[in-house]
């Protein structure tokens, strides 16, 4: 009877996860959705605690207190600009938990009778350990790369890296088979976890910069799949359902990110962006054609602008310029009656939706945040487009040069706006490493400088004028 109650409660919790995720389909219902999910989790935890196999609570409570404190401090203290690092780290903890739970379940299966099928438990344990360990170590590397501490943020690679990865993959498969043949040898499991961990590190370390959104989304998916695999280990449906929801979510985001760069997942993970042979050099593209403008000159431009579009990129996050952008936008709407929108490329920033969160933090209403596909057809009616710390996502070469590394990547067509203002420190290339002809276009003005400082000067100039 108790078993039935527990399983019904798990069913209810699973339903609450689905309803919770459904809530995320609109900003208005999203808060409630998240709370529904949290409540579902609480329900699942509470009914698990009444399980008769539990003989003492002190270890559980100790773990929950430690984990709860760490989690809460992170959640309260983390800056919105550092959100990619935190999500990466949390993905890792999810994978790590799966590795530990599956390992413990494997050991327990040698001591007490298992509730489900032993074969299913052992095979699922192999998957859980493999995916979980790749997720844990891969996420730690991703976190350090995003943080740009310990591990450099850019591409780190060495010759023979893929050979090493292939050998590691073979070792993992061999160990997996050996575990299935002899589940009592726990050392094999830890060997698998170690090999998968090294593979997780080596798969993540060569990927850098603007490819990070794909990596985080993929690791997010893995953390879900690891949880689902653990569900097979324990023959527990709520783990399987919750895990596969997360796995599906991460896969969708991964595919959206890849499409937004017109690259395959394999190309992001194993490939390398390199400028094509014979492509125009920076000197050829820029020489004598780049027009620099002072904040005062740009202020005059804004004086007559009726429709202004801001295009934020990772540079805005680095410069913490989102609040100044909001001030500028507010001033333009209230003093000039201008219509202001934000055009957001799917891969702008270091994780899916990164720019939206930063702008929401700066109190920008979400209905001003426009998706690329939505705003592109209307850009020819915009008077001023202001690009802040973005580069490759507005590079028209993506449309014109089929040999370029970003060929075919959908971009925000700011070059169609009447005037384009680029706020940027220098003419240095973006992640793709190629020059951007937009910077030398007739209708483009470069406002060089640190994003925040340059915009503060612009706002001051506008208020004076």
């Amino acid at each position: 009877m108790k078993e039935v109650v527990i399983n019904l409660a798990y069913l209810l919790a699973s339903a609450m996860f689905v309803i919770g995720l459904k809530g995320l389909t609109h900003p208005r219902t999203a808060v409630r959705g998240n709370l529904t999910g949290a409540l579902g989790m609480l329900l699942a935890i509470v009914v698990t605690l009444i399980d008769q196999r539990i003989i003492g609570y002190e270890v559980i409570i100790a773990g929950a207190v430690v984990g709860g404190l760490i989690g809460a401090v992170f959640a309260i203290k983390i800056q919105m600009t550092a959100m990619p690092q935190m999500v990466a780290l949390f993905n890792g903890f999810g994978g790590g938990a799966s590795v530990l739970v599956a390992g413990a379940a494997l050991i327990e299966s040698g001591i007490i009778e298992v509730s489900g099928s032993m074969t299913q438990l052992v095979v699922a344990t192999v998957f859980s350990g493999l995916i979980g360990s790749v997720t844990f170590w891969g996420s730690l590397i991703a976190m350090f790369k995003l943080w740009e501490k310990v591990v450099p943020g850019g591409n780190v690679t060495f010759p023979g890296l893929q050979v090493v990865n292939a050998i590691l993959a073979i070792i993992c498969v061999a160990l997996g088979v050996m575990i299935i043949m002899d589940p009592t040898n726990i050392t094999l499991y830890w060997g698998l976890v170690a090999a998968a961990g090294v593979m997780g590190i080596l798969l993540t370390i060569p990927i850098g910069g603007a490819d990070m959104p794909v990596v985080i989304a993929l690791l997010n998916s893995y953390s879900g799949l690891a949880a689902a695999a653990t569900g097979f280990v324990l023959s527990n449906n709520v783990l399987i359902i919750a895990g596969s929801l997360v796995g599906a979510s991460g896969l969708i985001l991964t595919s959206i990110m890849c499409k937004a760069m017109n690259r395959s997942l394999a190309n992001v993970i194993f490939g390398k962006l390199a400028p094509a042979e014979g492509a125009a050099t920076a000197d050829e593209v820029y020489a004598g054609k780049v027009k620099a403008a002072s904040p005062e000159e740009v202020a005059m431009l804004f004086d007559t602008a009726r429709r202004v579009v801001f295009v934020p990129g990772y540079g805005m996050a680095v410069a913490q310029a989102q609040h100044v952008v909001r001030d500028l936008a507010n001033w333009l709407t209230s003093n000039k009656g201008a219509e202001v929108e934000y055009a957001i490329h799917p891969v702008a920033g270091r994780m899916p939706g990164h720019m939206n969160v930063l702008l929401a933090e700066a109190n920008v209403p979400y209905d001003q945040l426009k998706e690329m596909d939505e705003i592109n057809p209307t850009l020819d009616t915009a008077d001023v487009a202001m690009v802040i710390g973005a580069n490759d996502v507005v590079n028209p070469v993506a449309r014109t040069d089929p040999k370029s590394p970003i060929a075919g990547m959908p971009i925000i067509d700011v070059d169609k706006c009447r005037t384009v203002v680029i706020v940027k420190r220098s003419l240095s290339p973006g992640f793709a490493g190629i020059p951007n002809p937009l910077f030398a276009a007739d209708n483009t003005l470069m406002m060089f400088g640190d994003g925040k400082k340059a915009l503060l000067e612009l706002v001051a100039a506008l208020k004076e004028g």
Binding site: F93, T119, A217
Partner: protein
């Protein structure tokens, strides 16, 4: 074997359900979606609680304890930070 097919059925259907639901989440909420789904993947806490609570051996209890720590960070941190972000979207 029969129970495995049953479990597999649930897994496959849940993946399809996930695709259906998540496709409708707008790009503006993709970051909260990631942190929120991350919190949900902390569901492994259930397995962690069982290992930490049944105390079969010192090793399984230790593994259970560490797993409870990891999963609780995920659950508590994930739902809280998602709430913090979504609150910013709701403000206006």
């Amino acid at each position: 074997m029969e129970s495995f097919v049953f479990t597999l059925t649930i897994f496959v259907l849940a993946v399809f359900l996930g695709f259906e639901v998540i496709t409708k989440v707008p790009p503006t909420l993709h970051t909260p979606l990631m942190s929120g789904s991350n919190a949900i993947s902390g569901i492994t806490i259930i397995g962690a609680i069982l290992s930490a609570g049944t105390k079969l051996t010192i090793l399984t209890t230790t593994l259970g304890f560490l797993a409870v720590v990891f999963a609780t960070i995920n659950v508590v941190g994930g739902f809280m930070v998602t709430h913090r972000m979504l609150d910013m979207f709701r403000r206006k």
